[in-house]
C-alpha cells in the first residue's frame, strides 16, 4: 500500500524529500552559526571603547532633536543624520568638551530648533509663557462668570409664592421616594 502510494504520488514525495533535504541544510547552517561565536564577534563593531563617554553621549543626545525625523531625539533615531551627529558628539566628548560647549556647537550650526528645550528669548516668549497666558484667561473668565452668577442670585430673590411652591415640590419628591 505504501509503495503504491509512493508510486501514485511520486511528485508529492519528491517535493517532500526536497524540503526535508533543504531543512537539513538549514539545520546545519544554524548549527554552524550557533557554535561559532567567534565569527559573530568579528561582525559586531564595538559601540564604544569608553562606556562613560557613551553614557554621556546618550544623555546629551536625548536632549537634542533629530532634524530629519523631527519627532525623534538624536539618541533614538536611526537616521544617518543622527548617527553622524552622535559620532560628532562622541568625538567632542573624547576631546574633553563640556556638554555646554557641544550644545553651543550644534546650535551654532542647526539653530535652536535642535534643542528640545529652547532658550528663553524674545522669539520664544510666547512658546514658554503662552500656556500660562491661556491659563490666566481661563481663570479670569471663570471668576467673571462666577461673580455674575452670584450677583444674579442676589438680584433675583425668590418671592414667597415661589418659595412655597418649591417647598411643596420638595415635599412631594421626598414623599414619593419614601413610599
Amino acid at each position: 500500500m505504501s509503495l503504491e502510494f509512493i508510486k501514485n504520488h511520486r511528485q508529492l514525495v519528491t517535493t517532500w524529500l526536497r524540503i526535508l533535504h533543504g531543512k537539513r541544510q538549514l539545520v546545519l547552517l544554524l548549527t554552524i552559526l550557533a557554535v561559532s561565536p567567534l565569527g559573530w564577534a568579528k561582525v559586531a563593531v564595538p559601540v564604544a571603547e569608553n562606556p562613560e563617554i557613551e553614557r554621556r553621549m546618550i544623555a546629551l543626545s536625548k536632549e537634542l532633536r533629530c532634524l530629519v525625523c523631527q519627532n525623534e531625539s538624536l539618541a533614538g533615531s536611526q537616521s544617518d543624520f543622527a548617527k553622524d551627529l552622535r559620532r560628532e558628539i562622541r568625538e567632542q566628548l573624547i576631546a574633553n568638551k563640556s556638554n555646554q560647549e557641544i550644545t553651543d556647537f550644534l546650535v551654532a550650526r542647526y539653530g535652536d530648533f535642535i534643542l528640545y528645550r529652547p532658550p528663553i528669548k524674545s522669539t520664544t516668549l510666547l512658546l514658554w509663557f503662552g500656556p500660562f497666558i491661556f491659563l490666566l484667561i481661563g481663570a479670569g473668565a471663570l471668576i467673571i462668570y462666577l461673580k455674575q452668577r452670584r450677583k444674579l442670585l442676589e438680584e433675583m430673590p425668590l418671592s414667597k409664592e415661589q418659595l412655597d411652591q418649591a417647598e411643596t415640590l420638595l415635599k412631594k419628591g421626598s414623599d414619593g421616594d419614601s413610599t
Binding site: L67, D80, Y110
Partner: protein, 176 residues
Amino acid sequence: MIRFLLPLVAFIVLVAFLLVGLNLNPRKIPSPLIGKPAPEFQLQQLYESEKTLASKDNLGKVWLLNVWASWCAACREEHPLLIQLANSGVVPIYGLNYKDKRDLALQWLDRFGDPYTVSIVDPDGRVGIEYGVYGVPETYVIDKSGIIQYKQIGPVTVDVLEKTILPLVKGLQGGI
C-alpha cells in the same frame, strides 16, 4: 446671542490657526548660519582626487554651494535647473558631494550632466555638519567676502531661483 457667537468665533480662530499650521513646512528651519562666514573647508575634488579645493579659494566671487548625493532623489528634481543656471554663466556652482561613493557620484554626473564648476567630496559628512546640512539637497549663496547670504533647504525650484536666488546673486555681484 453672544453665548453662541463667542464659542463659534473661538472655534473659527482655532481652525484658522490649525489651517496655517498645516500649511507650514516643518522642514524649513531658519539657519543660524545666514549672515555668518561660511565654515572653512579643504576637500578632495571629485574628478581628480589628488587636487583639493578650499573655501578660501572662492573669496572675491559670489558662488553657490550645492550639497548633493547620488542617493538623493530630490537632487534629480533640481538638477536640470542647476544645469540651466550653469549654462547661463551667471554664477558658478560648486558641488559638494555629500556622504556618497565616488564611482556612484561620477556615474550620476555622467548620466544627468555636470553643472558644477568644481565638485568636491565630503564622504563622511563632516563638512556637512559644519554647514548644518540635514536635508539634501541644500544650496548656499555665499558672497565675495565668504558670508553665507541664503540657504535653500530642499530642491531649488524655478520660483525660488527667479524670485530669490538670482536677484540676490545680482545684488551681491554688484557690491564690493
